[in-house]
Structures are given as C-alpha cells and as structure tokens.
C-alpha cells in the first residue's frame, strides 16, 4: 500500500468501497507543498460489505498507509452508524481500535454537536426524549412471540442502529425511567439532562472516540450562520463553506412546526401518550397508565381475575386470550397496533438526524470549482441553503447559489434516497439539483454515490438506494459521469451516453481511477 499523492494543482478524492456508508479521503498540498489529508466520515451499515474481502479494517489500513498515519482534518457529518462506526471499529484480536494507529490534526463537526451551544443541547435533550420513547416501545416488543412484533422490533433496531447494545440500551432506559419516576415533568422540560445516550450507545461511542483524539481546542464546530468561510490550517486558498445543518432560531424553538422540512425532535401529543403507556403517569386516582379512573378498568394481563362473571364472559367471548395458534379470535385482536406508531416516530427521528448532517462546499482557489459534500442531508437542509451567503476574504460576497452553480464534484446525499436530493428548476427559489453546475462547470460535473445497491435491494421492504428516478436525473445532468461504489460486478465506468462529447468523456475517465478498495477522482485547479 502506498501513500496517496496529492495532485500538483487541485485535489484528489477517494470514495472508499467499504459497503453501504460514507468514507471519503481527500489529498491536497499545503503551503509547504506537503500532503494535506482530509477524511469525511467512515462507516457502513452492518453486514453491507461489498465483498467479504473488503472489510473495514482493510479500508482503515489503507487510509493509514495513504496518509502515513496522519490525517490533518476529520469531518464527521452526523452520528448515524453508516457514517461513523468505522472510527470505533475494534480489532477482535487485541481489542484495539483500528483507528488507534492514526493521529489527527483537527476534528470538524456540525454545530449541533457543540456542548456549549444552547440550541444544540435543546435539540439533543428532545432527541433523547424521543429515543427513550422508542426504547420503551422496543422493550414492550422484546417479550412478544409474534411475527409482527419481531419485524417491528427489527425495523426499530435498524432505524436507530440499536443492534447488539442491549446492556447499554437497558442502562440508558432504566436511568431515564428512574429519573422520570422522581420527576414526571422532566420529560419534555427544558431542565438539565444527563447526556446518557452520548456515551452509552455504540454509534455515539465512535463519535466520542474521534473527539477524544484531539484536545478540545482542536475541535471546530461549523455553522452556516458564520460570516466567513473556514480555512484549513496552513493550506492556501481552499475555503470551506458550511451550508448545513440549518440554523434557524424559529425552526429550532418552534414546538409545532408545520411541514416536513423543519426540525421537530420534540414529541407530539401522540408520542407523549405512547411514552406514558410504559411509564406510569402516577396521577392521583387514575390507573397507572390509562386515561380513566382505576375503577373502570381490568388488567389485560390477568383476564381470569375479572371478578364480574358477565364481564369476564363478554371479553372472553369477544376478544379471547391465550396464545394458541388455532385461536379463532386472534385475527381481530389489536395487541400490537398501538406500537406501530413507534415505527413512524423512529422514521421521523431518523430523518431528522439526517438533517443534522454537516454539509460543506469546498472551494478551490484558482478555478473556483466547488466540491459538495452533503452527508445525509434531506429536504429541509436543502431548503435552508437557499439564502445563505458569506464574506469572501477578498471582500466580495459569495452566495450559496453561486457555490452550488460552480459544483463539479457532488457527493449525493443519503446514498441516493428519494429525499436526499431535491428536484426543481434553476429558477426555483429554493436550492435544488438544477442549481448545481452551471456555465463551464457543467462539463466537469461528476456525481458520486456511495451505496451498496445490491445489499439495499435485499432489505425488506427493499431500500431504493439509489432511487432509479434520481439516478436517471443525475445521469442526464452529468452527461453520464456518475460513479457508484457498487454495481453488481464492482466499480465500472458507466456507458458513455450518445450525447457525451468524446474528448470530455476521455478526460473524465483519465481523471478517475477505479480500484478494488476505492474510486479516486482528481479535480484539477
């Protein structure tokens, strides 16, 4: 394995082929003509490797060799496992992390990770409330021997990256419950909350591990509200503009947002009643969990104990109980229906965390070309980019619209899902795919999609990563220059479309290298 040599002018980008997840290594030259390395994310969904031989340790070892064990800047877009779990990956032989061999200069994170930021803490608190609600639903499902219950639990685990952390999850849940018992109004309150989830849950541990690699002073939090773009230490000219996650006071504090774009995190009334189901309300005179006074209810778990014979007969005849497979009444029971709401809540939370993705536009100094890294940003993030602008060091004002118009390398958000990239027209008032790559930049535009399409299609129900309609749109926009980590038989150049100019196509192929472990592109400046 060899060092990754930066180009003389410009930047090299490696899209690793670890599986269904993001891992991007970049190399450019610093002011002293030395190699300068930037890593964005490192993770994959469990068991989504592209092949048995390309495991995450090989990828990390390659990163170590390519950078000579020193990465100048690590950016983490957001905390989902397919973006971070590589950082925490353990070598089973010595129980050390593969990343231990690599030193880090700086860590760049989204403002939502800043513990000194009141808004970020507010978000996190509400996020944890929701997580708690979902864990409660999950716990309810654990003991149920039922196909539907099992598939719902699987779905929650998948959405929340819960898999295999039973002990940690339990501890989080119990601590939370205990606290709520003592202080029922704590839920949804603005009160101080322990950062339980941050260290106890595996995907959070990976994030924490990288943060601990550098002293606090070398963690930067990027915020789209900042006036000026960021610079890499000792690198001339390259500027980094944070486009997301959105920072809108109104969106963050509004408890009743309208529309899908906005941060909610907060629990709705429906969600709160879900929680109170597993966390006794303890209101005077009420049953522990129901909405009515105790005297109106019988315990569902002990139907035989219903004293009034007529009532007992009625319920036995109408609803029935027992777990027999041959139970003729079972098909109409609704024992699990109420927990189905948890799946919606989990999906919502997952989308919302995606929208906390750090989104950066990296601008090269000479040609002003832009590389756009979107993490898993979804619709709401796109909308929020529309009106952003910054002060360029030369005194001019740079708008997000200009940056997007100069994009020549576009990391497609969320593995090409339907809501990771916004459709629209160039004339629309909100940022969308048509805002990207205009004028001469149009001919250089390349789209990168990190995904394991084959693995994703096998999910039940299948995940469309990428969505065919989006893939088609990108193919048209890029005149065929779309690179994916995975097609069925490994990395391949797409077929040259009839519309693509021969010289340009040759240029595109010359600037891209397809390897077993990665796809590498060079953007000249």
């Amino acid at each position: 394995m060899a060092r990754m040599e930066p180009p003389d002018n410009g930047i090299k980008i490696r899209m690793y082929r670890q599986g269904h997840g993001d891992c991007f290594l970049m190399a450019t030259k610093d002011a002293n003509d030395k190699a300068f390395y930037i890593l964005i994310d490192c993770g994959l969904k469990k068991n989504s490797e592209l092949s048995k031989s390309k495991t995450i340790d090989k990828i990390i070892n390659d990163i170590a060799a390519a950078t000579d064990n020193f990465i100048n800047v690590i950016m983490i877009t957001h905390e989902h496992e397919d973006h971070v779990n590589g950082f925490g990956a353990l070598n089973p032989r010595n129980n050390k992390r593969y990343f231990d061999q690599i030193d880090v200069g700086e860590v760049w994170l989204a403002w939502t990770e800043n513990e000194d930021d009141a808004d970020a803490n507010d978000l996190r608190r509400r996020y944890e409330d929701t997580l708690y609600a979902l864990l409660g639903a999950r716990n309810k499902l654990l003991g149920v021997a039922d196909l539907e219950a099992h598939s719902l639990k699987e779905s929650l685990d998948e959405l929340l990256d819960f898999e295999g952390n039973e002990e940690d999850l339990n501890e989080f849940y119990l601590t939370y419950s205990e606290r709520l018992r003592r202080q029922p109004d704590w839920l949804g309150s603005n009160g101080d909350k322990p950062k339980l989830g941050r260290t106890r849950i595996d995907f959070k541990k990976s994030m924490q591990y990288i943060r601990k690699k550098v002293p606090k002073s070398r963690i930067r939090f990027l915020d789209p509200r900042e006036e000026r773009p960021h610079k890499f230490k000792n690198v001339d000219g390259i500027l980094v503009y944070p486009l997301g996650p959105p920072r809108d006071e109104h969106l963050l504090t509004s408890l009743n947002p309208r529309g899908d774009e906005e941060f909610k995190f907060a629990l709705s009334g429906g969600d709160r009643s879900l929680i109170s189901a597993y966390n006794g309300e303890n209101k005077v005179g009420r049953s522990t969990t129901g909405p009515f006074e105790k005297r109106f209810g019988y315990d569902l778990q002990e139907p035989e104990a219903i004293k009034d014979k007529e009532h007992r007969d009625f319920f036995q005849q109408a609803y029935g109980w027992g777990n027999s497979d041959h139970d003729e009444k079972a098909w109409r029971r609704i024992d699990l229906d109420w927990l189905m709401a948890a799946e919606d809540l989990a999906l919502r939370l997952d989308d919302e965390v995606n929208n906390t993705s750090l989104v950066v536009a990296i601008e090269l100094p000479n040609t002003k070309k832009v590389l756009l890294f979107t993490g898993d940003a979804q619709r709401g993030s796109w909308i929020s980019w529309s009106d952003l602008s910054w002060k360029h060091p030369d005194g001019s004002t740079v708008t997000a619209k200009e940056l997007l118009g100069r994009t020549v390398l576009h990391k497609i958000s969320h593995h090409g899902s339907h809501n990771g990239t916004l459709k629209g027209k160039a004339s629309d008032a909100y940022a969308n795919l048509s805002w990207l790559a205009h004028g001469s930049y149009k001919h250089d535009y390349v789209a990168l999609i990190p995904t394991n399409e084959v693995w994703a299609k096998d999910k039940s129900p299948p995940w469309k990563h990428p969505l065919k309609a989006l893939e088609d749109a990108l193919f048209e926009k890029a005149d065929g220059r779309v690179l994916m980590t995975n097609r069925k038989y490994g990395p391949k150049f797409p077929k040259q479309p009839a519309s693509a100019d021969d010289d340009r196509w040759e240029e595109f192929k010359k600037n891209a290298k397809l390897k077993a472990l990665y796809i590498e592109c060079t953007v000249e400046d």
Binding site: S273, A277, G290, F292, G297, D350, H418, W463
Partner: protein, 708 residues
C-alpha cells in the same frame, strides 16, 4: 313492559359534535343530541343484558392494549339506562364512549340502509384455503374505542374493525387545556367517517385497490361527504348554525367543517377539514373552484378534498335556489337583511330547506355507489354514477339537482376525460340497447329471461342446456341453498324444537324454492347472513347466464373479453378450454321508489376479469406471450363492468364498464405508470415505497397523518 311499549327505537345520548363544544359558553347548549336506533336493527330482546354493546351489526370491545386494560362494558339494556336514554355525555367514563361509538355507527348504518333499500353487509374475511381463497361471512364489525395511543383513527380492512385512538393535546390552542386527553371516539365526525369506510368496503371491496389516483381519494372523500351531510340531520345544531350564519352557509360555520376538537388539538387552529374554506393565518377564506388544482394533487386526502368541495358546492347552490324565495319574502325583495338576528320562523324554514337539500344530495351520493364500475373508479365515473342514479329515480330534474351537481363538478375539473360534451344526456350511463343499437344483437342475457326467472323449473332447464359446466353450477347452487337453509332454520325455529345439526335441510330451502322466493327482494327484512349467501347464489346464477356460449358476442359490448387470443397473462377458465375467465364478483339488489311510487328492483351485477401485470414492460410482453405459472405478478390488473338489470323484465338497463377491457394495453400502461410513481415516491427514506397501496391496506397510513 312490552317491547312495543317502549317505542320503535332505542334512544341514546351522544355528543352533538365533540366534547369541545360543551366547553365554550356560546356553544354549550349544542353539547348533546339524542339518536334513535330501531329495535329491529338490534335483533335483541330488551330484557336480556346487552353488553358491549355487541349487537347484530357491531361489536364494541373496549380493550386498550397500550394501557394494558379492558374497560368495563356498558349494558345498554340496564333498566336505568333504558329509561334515561343511556349515559349522559362525558369524557371521563369509558362506558359512555362505548355508547357513543355504537350509537353513531348504528345511525350511519341506518342511513345507508334507508337509502339503498337493503341491509348493510361487511366485506368478507378472505381466508387462504387449500386451493383457493375463501370468503367468510363477517356479521359484526368490531369497534375498538381506545385501540391505539395516537392522533389517529382508522378502519382496518384486514381485521374488519374500526380502531379509534386517543392522545394528549398539544399546548397551542386557547380552548384546549394542554395535556388533556383527546378521544377520537368522541368525535361524531370521525366516527361517521370511519364507519363509512367500513360500509363502503362492504359494498365495493375492490375500492381499496389504488389502481389510479382517484380510488383511495374517493374512499376518503366519500367518508367525509357522509360525515358532512350528517350535520344537517341534527336539527339542534342546524338551527343554531343557520341562525348564527344568518342563513348564509358560505361562511365560516360548523356545518361545513369536520373534526373540530381533533384539528385544534393538533395545533391546526381550526377543524381538521373544511369543505368550504381554509384558514389563511388567522382569517378564514372561502375556497374558490379551480379546474386545474386536481391535476397537481396526488395525495388521497388532498385529492379527495376536491371531490368533497364539489359535492358541497352543489349542495350550496341547491340550498340557495330553494331558499331564494324565502329571502325575497323576508327582505321584501331587497335581498338585504336588516341588522340583527333573523326571525326564528325564517331560521326554521331555512333549516328545513337545508336539511331537505342535504338529505337529497346525500341519497344521490349513496345511491351512486350502485352505479360505479366494479374496479378502478374515477371521480368522473362517480359523477356519471350520481347523475344516472338520480336520473333513474326522477327522470325529470325539476329541482335542478343534477344541473347543480354537473356545474359544480365542471368547475372543479372533475369530469370524465373521454367525454367531449358534458351534459346530463352524455353523462347518464348507457343501456344495453343504446350500446348495441347498430348491431343485430339481441340484448337479453337469455331469451325470455324475464319469464324464466318467474319459473324456476324453466330456469334450471335453461342452465342445463345453455350454461358452460351446468353440473358445476347446479352443484354450487345446491351447496349455497343448503347453507342458507341452515341459517334460516336456526333463526326461524325456537331453540327447544330445533333439529339436530346433522339432519338434512328440509326442501323448504331447495334451489328451486330459493329461486321462487328470491331472498334478495326481502330488503330491510332480510336475515343478513342469509342475504350474504343469497348474493353468492345469484353470483352463480348470473355467471351461468353471462358465460353461456350464446352470449359470447354480447360480451365485447359490455367491456368483457372471452377472446382466445387475449394475452396469456389474462386469467383463464378451467371450464372452457382456456378461454379468459370471468368472475361475477357481486350481485346485490337495489330497490327504489319509481316515479309513481311503486317499488322497483334491479340487480346490480359486478363482473370482473383479471390479468397478471408487471412493472417492467419487457417482462409484461414476455409473459403476455407465454405466461410462467409460478411467476408472481407485481400487481393485478382488473377490468370489467357493472350491469343494472331490471328484476322483473331482466332487461339490462345500464352498462357501466371500466375504461378499456382486460386486453387493453394502453390502460394497463397507464396503471403501471401510476403504480410505479407511487412505488417510487416512498413515505420514508428507506422503503422502496408504499407498496401497501397496491395491497389496499393503507388506511392506517393514510390516517396517521390526520388529514394531510
């Protein structure tokens, strides 16, 4: 006390709208109304306990799994409740909740039965048998008043159940205490809406198959329409609101709005849905008709809202024209009211006119259900259905109902896309005579069928000679007759004298006898389970007529194909050497009062064909040529027609075909492209899309977003 001494119906108190009205001083007098449920619908003696309530149509089971509780059931026959019209409305006693869902759902059922002249049946449970899917009769719709903890309520077609949720209110609305519990089973509108879903599913089980963007939207819209017009059947609320609106219904008022408390509790600032207007910030604005809006909307609730708006607009126009004279009289011709409240007499008269107009429009809407194609309904089809239904009842449109409906549908862009001229004449579905007028085809399914049906012996002979597979038809008819016999014997004979179950059924219920007495003509007096089987009986009979070789030429005129060259994906019959198969999906009897007040009956016969369909056009082409038996289709493509057949003369009075027949590749492509879009527009970032829609189980999804 004798049954006859306590009147003809059970009276039960319910919230007029929902609990929120009683909490506002100026509306608190509208809190409560009384509903009447005919004893005859309950088939239950008043002196036996009536737990649940679990009666002939409904079974209210108050289990709340989220709280781990059964709530004590109400006994509606408790003497103290019989004497006091049930419990008085309250949020804090679950037994009142049981009473209210029961009363409102029964009231809705009664309304449908009155309009259709037959008993309401629930869609059957489909059970996977060894060789095929079997339908199983479902007598009672299950109702769960506190089934989920969610701002949601839905009809579950799989469980044949209405499931109502409850949730904590958000703290945004001034009239709702934060954290208070909102029960969807206490909203009159929500109950009617969900009950209507179940009733509609019982009539058109295939209207849950979203084969075009209108189908699920129609389900939603129809449920809203019934809930809206129900407002006009409660005189207390009606009079109050007409008075408050000074007779002008085109203003912000309760009558045109659905689910007041629910909407506010979700922080919407107003009702969940409004047929007339919408809130723009703090102000209410009347919706204006737009022909193009419908093209942009795809979500079922949003699309459905357009249909609701069109129907409500038709109602308003009728109300205005019926009350114009009253306004002229009251204002001495000026049209301008003096300031202040309207005279109570005027309010009363206006309310009567509003109630009559609403009742009539709702009847047209309900009766229109029998005039829809069996699958793949569109809003345009429904317009034709409503117009035909009313036309057949009142050939002279002297109250101008039909003109008002057509005008409203045109203004909202909801007209059939294949009609060049939209008028009553072109909209009314054609008769078989009209369809075949340039051919020399005879237009009777069997010669002298009208006389055949009077003479069972001749009928059976005809089957023997003309049907394909006569022995099979005969066998099935006998099997069903046996089942009907058992049901009727059990209900007709007192328990003590009942014969042992294995005894052969007396020949009182032989095929011949059943043909003689025609159980379908019993109307509201029918035993529901026997009626369900009788419908199956007539399905067999009509299948024999329609598939008879003698009628083969006729089929192409009514949108069916028995062409040997049809694509191989079209489902084939095992009886006739692999010709395309035909399913008589449903036969029901529609009764109506004719122009001279005599009862007229007609069979509503739904006939369908099916074809395996694939998302990939290439796969479709391959399979069309040589179908692989085991290759699962991506979706089922169905075509067919509904026939309205006069029960005495057996003339085919109306032919209501789907667009294109089962071999039509253009229509198939349209459906494929719609379903692909649905599939590619997933509800979340992961699933490939809501394939649920294809399976027709999407109500809980639809409803969870509470009206978006």
């Amino acid at each position: 006390m004798e049954q006859s001494q306590i009147g003809s119906s059970r009276k039960l108190r319910v919230f007029a709208v929902d609990p929120s009205l009683g909490k506002l001083l100026h509306q608190s007098h509208l809190n409560e109304i009384i509903l009447s449920i005919p004893w005859a619908m309950e088939e239950r003696r008043y002196d036996e306990p009536f737990w649940g309530p679990s009666g002939e149509y409904l079974e209210v089971v108050d289990v709340d799994p989220g709280s781990g509780l059964f709530y004590k059931p109400i006994n509606l026959n408790d003497p103290s409740l019989l004497a006091s019209n049930g419990l008085s409305p309250t949020e804090s006693n679950p037994r009142f909740h049981q009473q209210m869902v029961y009363a409102v759902t029964m009231d809705t059922i009664a309304q449908f039965e009155d309009a259709l002249g037959r008993v309401v049946l629930w869609s059957p449970r489909v059970k996977r048998g060894k060789k095929q899917y079997d339908d199983e009769y479902v007598g009672q719709l299950r109702v769960y008043p506190h089934g989920v903890r969610d701002a949601n309520a839905y009809y579950s077609p799989e469980k044949k159940a209405l499931i109502f949720g409850y949730f904590e209110a958000d703290d945004t609305h001034p009239n709702i205490a934060p954290g208070s519990t909102i029960f969807s089973c206490l909203s009159h509108d929500i109950i009617v809406h969900e009950a209507t879903h179940a009733i509609l599913d019982g009539i058109h089980a295939r209207f849950t198959e979203a084969s075009n963007p209108d189908v699920l939207a129609f389900h939603e819209a129809f449920a809203d329409i019934v809930a809206l017009f129900k407002h006009f059947s409660h005189p207390e609320v009606l009079v109050d609101q007409i008075s408050a609106a000074r007779g002008d219904l085109e203003t912000d008022n309760l009558l045109g709005q659905l689910a007041q408390e629910f909407g506010r509790a979700l922080g919407r600032g107003g009702a969940l849905r409004d047929a007339l207007g919408e809130m723009e910030g703090e102000t209410w604005k009347r919706k204006t008709p737009s022909k193009n809006q419908i093209r942009r909307l795809t979500a079922p609730h949003a699309r459905g809202a357009i249909l609701v708006a069109a129907v409500f607009q038709a109602f308003l126009e009728i109300y205005k024209s019926r009350t114009a004279d009253l306004f002229r009289i009251a204002t001495r011709g000026s049209g301008i009211h003096p300031p202040g409240a309207l005279h109570p007499d005027l309010v009363k008269r206006l309310s009567e006119e509003a109630a009559t107009s609403a009742r009539h429009i709702l009847r047209i809407c309900i009766r229109g259900l029998d005039y829809c194609p069996p699958v793949d309904v569109t809003f345009g089809d429904y317009l034709r259905a409503m117009i035909t239904a009313d036309h057949d009842l009142y050939p002279e449109d002297d109250k101008k109902y039909r003109i008002a409906i057509i005008e409203a549908f045109v203004s909202w862009g909801l007209t059939p896309d294949d009609l060049r001229i939209v008028s009553e004449e072109t909209l009314v579905w054609k008769s078989l005579d009209e369809i075949t007028q340039n051919s020399d085809l005879k237009t009777e399914l069997a010669e002298d069928l009208g006389t055949l049906i009077e003479n069972p012996e001749a009928m059976l002979n005809w089957i023997e000679q003309n049907a394909k597979g006569p022995s099979i038809v005969r066998e099935k008819l006998e099997e069903i007759a046996g089942k009907i016999g058992k049901i009727l014997e059990t209900t007709e004979t007192p328990e003590s004298t009942r014969a042992r179950p294995n005894r052969a059924v007396s020949n009182k219920y032989s095929v011949q006898k059943l043909l003689e007495q025609n159980l379908l003509s019993l109307g509201l007096k029918a035993n529901r389970e026997a009626e369900w089987w009788a419908q199956k009986f007539y399905c067999q009979l009509f299948w024999a007529f329609i598939t008879s070789p003698a009628n083969r030429e006729l089929l192409s005129f009514i949108g069916l194909s028995m062409d040997n060259d049809a694509p191989k994906t079209v489902s084939r019959s095992s009886l006739s050497q692999g010709l395309p198969s035909i399913e008589v999906h449903s036969v029901r009897m529609a009764a109506r009062l004719g122009v001279r007040n005599q009862i007229e009956r007609e069979y509503v016969v739904e006939i369908t064909q099916r074809r395996k369909a694939y998302f990939e056009a290439g796969t479709q082409r391959e399979q069309d040529k040589a179908v692989e038996k085991d290759k699962e289709p991506d979706f089922i493509f169905r075509r067919g027609c509904t026939l309205l057949i006069d029960a005495t003369t057996f003339k085919v009075r109306r032919v209501i075909p789907t667009k294109g027949d089962i071999t039509d590749n253009v229509v198939l492509e349209r459906q494929r492209s719609y379903l692909s879009d649905v599939r590619d527009e997933p509800k979340n970032a992961f699933d490939g899309g809501s394939i649920d829609l294809l399976k027709g189980q999407a109500f809980s999804e639809l409803h969870r977003v509470a009206g978006d």
